[in-house]
């Protein structure tokens, strides 16, 4: 079975186009569920009106589907609980210019 970490790793290569920080570091990946070859990924956008939402969603779907061992991919938006800044990792905060 494909490991959750493998999925998370591939998602670190998808960057938010505005901030240049991976969607994992931004805390946008709220849920990963692997059942055999079936992978479900829940994403929370930093703002519901993010115009790049669909593009990011599609990118995640493509990246996960390309992994060996993945048979079906379901990527969905999850608004509850909403994204909050607490989800930013320390690395993201540093990249946003707050901590050195």
């Amino acid at each position: 079975m494909i490991a959750e970490d493998t999925i998370r790793n591939v998602l670190t290569e998808i960057l938010d186009p505005e901030y240049g920080i991976s969607i994992v570091e931004l805390g946008m990946v709220s849920h990963i569920d692997v059942q055999g070859g079936e992978v479900r990924v829940g994403l929370t956008l930093t703002t519901p009106s993010c115009p790049a939402g669909n593009v990011i969603l599609e990118g995640v779907r493509t990246a996960v589907a390309a992994l060996p061992g993945v048979e079906t991919t379901d990527v969905y938006l999850q608004w509850d609980p909403p994204w909050t800044p607490d989800r930013l990792t320390a690395a993201a905060r540093r990249l946003l210019g707050w901590e050195t």
Partner: protein, 425 residues
């Protein structure tokens, strides 16, 4: 989504042409800025800015942002293309006719622009009507669509009135009504809403007090209705009271916008957001000038003539052009990125949207534009044409920097992904 990006990019392309044409008209007609506010050359210059640059950029923004702002697809995307065609043809006809003082042709070109704007208002209203939840931002878009319709109808009647008098009473009163409907009703109302979607998105900040956003909007709407009445009935005290009500509403919006900035998680405030905030600063100057004009309408020719031009200039080329130009700096790279690189995300590495513009050219636009504003204002204060020439020429230089920057961004649409050995989309 992709066709919507193409639609908005088309509008922004049109805005780019006017961004250069409008200040060039300023250089050519600089001395007209020292004359009467209804000098046809000044009217040409005004509409090159309000309909040419600001109008095109704003509609580009509306057609992209409205659906994400209200969570509902644009009702009739095809109508938005028709609107684009009407606007692209109508505005140059209008501006050229103003320059020649031919008001029948102003009305002809203006009718195309007006029909386009009425279609846009309808498209906006239906889209908002279909939205399941309507917050203050959705209401701001809705109100601004209403005022846009009123503005263009009043503008069309004013143009017809110059050729064949049809309007009752003093035409200067109608002129003031039209100008305030357009600047406060359409543009400022829209910015009062759009700011609370865009600022959080670009700074990772959040709106803390939605009541204050709604209250700010309510004050400007009530103030504008009162101001129109006060101008129409020529009641000086009411003009001041309602003008102050509008100012209070804008101050509420500005203070909430500031709290979004303070709560930002992205530390650096980039040029686009700085330009937007400077636009708010210029607006404060315009409001002070406007209230002074309302309080001392007979303060002598020097002040009431140059003061009125300075008021319009600071509001349009200062506040609105900075705010809209700043938003363009953020939105255009994003649209180009979505169109060019969106389809290959997850398949190959792509550059960041925020890396498409040149920070140097962005700063050059912003700082030269500010310098140009100061020089033109000096010219108006001293009634000296050389300052006006210098100021408009500086704004032309700012526009050139902006066009180079946007050209560089748009170049990505045709660029192969060199980092990957040329994988074209």
């Amino acid at each position: 989504m992709a066709t919507q990006a193409a639609l908005s990019l088309g509008w922004f392309g049109l805005a780019g042409l006017w961004l250069l044409a409008a200040p060039l008209l300023g250089v050519i007609n600089a001395p007209a800025c020292l004359g009467s506010a209804s000098d046809p050359r000044l009217l040409a210059l005004t509409h090159a800015w309000v309909l040419g640059f600001l109008g095109s950029a704003t509609f580009g923004g509306i057609y992209q942002l409205l659906s994400v702002a209200v969570g509902e697809e644009l009702a009739w995307p095809r109508l938005a293309w028709i609107h684009g065609a009407l606007h692209a043809v109508g505005v140059p006809v209008m501006v050229a006719a103003f320059l020649r003082g031919n008001f029948s042709w102003v009305a002809a070109g203006g009718s195309l622009v007006a029909v386009g704007a009425l279609l846009a208002s309808l498209n906006m209203a239906v889209t908002i009507g279909r939205a399941r939840t309507k917050d203050a931002v959705a209401w701001a878009f809705g109100f601004s669509a209403f005022w846009l319709s009123a503005t263009v109808i009043a503008g069309f009647l004013l143009a017809v009135n110059r050729a064949h008098p049809v309007l009752p009473g003093n035409s200067e009163t109608w002129l003031k009504v039209h100008a305030h409907l357009g600047v406060v009703g359409f543009y400022l109302t829209l910015l009062q809403g759009a700011a609370f979607r865009l600022l959080p998105m670009f700074t990772l900040g959040d709106v803390k007090n939605w009541m204050r956003v709604a209250s700010g909007l309510g004050h400007t709407q009530a103030g504008l209705i009162g101001l129109i009445f006060a101008i129409a009935e020529d009641i000086p005290v009411a003009r001041i009271v309602f003008g102050a009500t509008i100012a209070m509403g804008l101050a509420m919006s500005a203070s909430e916008a500031w709290s979004v900035i303070r709560s930002r998680r992205k530390r650096v405030i980039d040029t686009g957001v700085r330009a937007f905030l400077s636009g708010a600063g210029a607006l404060a100057v315009a409001i002070v000038l406007g209230l002074m004009l309302a309080a001392w309408p007979d303060a002598g020719d020097g002040f009431s003539v140059s003061g009125a031009v300075a008021y319009g200039f600071v509001a349009i080329v200062g506040a609105l052009a900075l705010a809209v130009g700043g938003m363009m700096l953020k939105i255009v790279p994003f649209l180009v990125w979505m169109r060019r690189y969106g389809p290959v995300i997850g398949k190959e590495p792509v550059p960041l949207a925020s890396k498409l513009p040149s920070p140097l050219l962005e700063r050059a636009w912003f700082e030269l534009h500010l310098l140009g504003l100061v020089l033109v204002l000096l010219g108006l204060a001293r009634s000296e044409a050389p300052w006006l020439y210098a100021g408009w020429a500086t704004i032309v230089a700012a526009s050139v920097a902006s066009l180079l920057n946007h050209g560089r961004i748009a170049g990505h649409l045709w660029r192969k992904n060199r980092t990957l050995g040329g994988n074209a989309v």
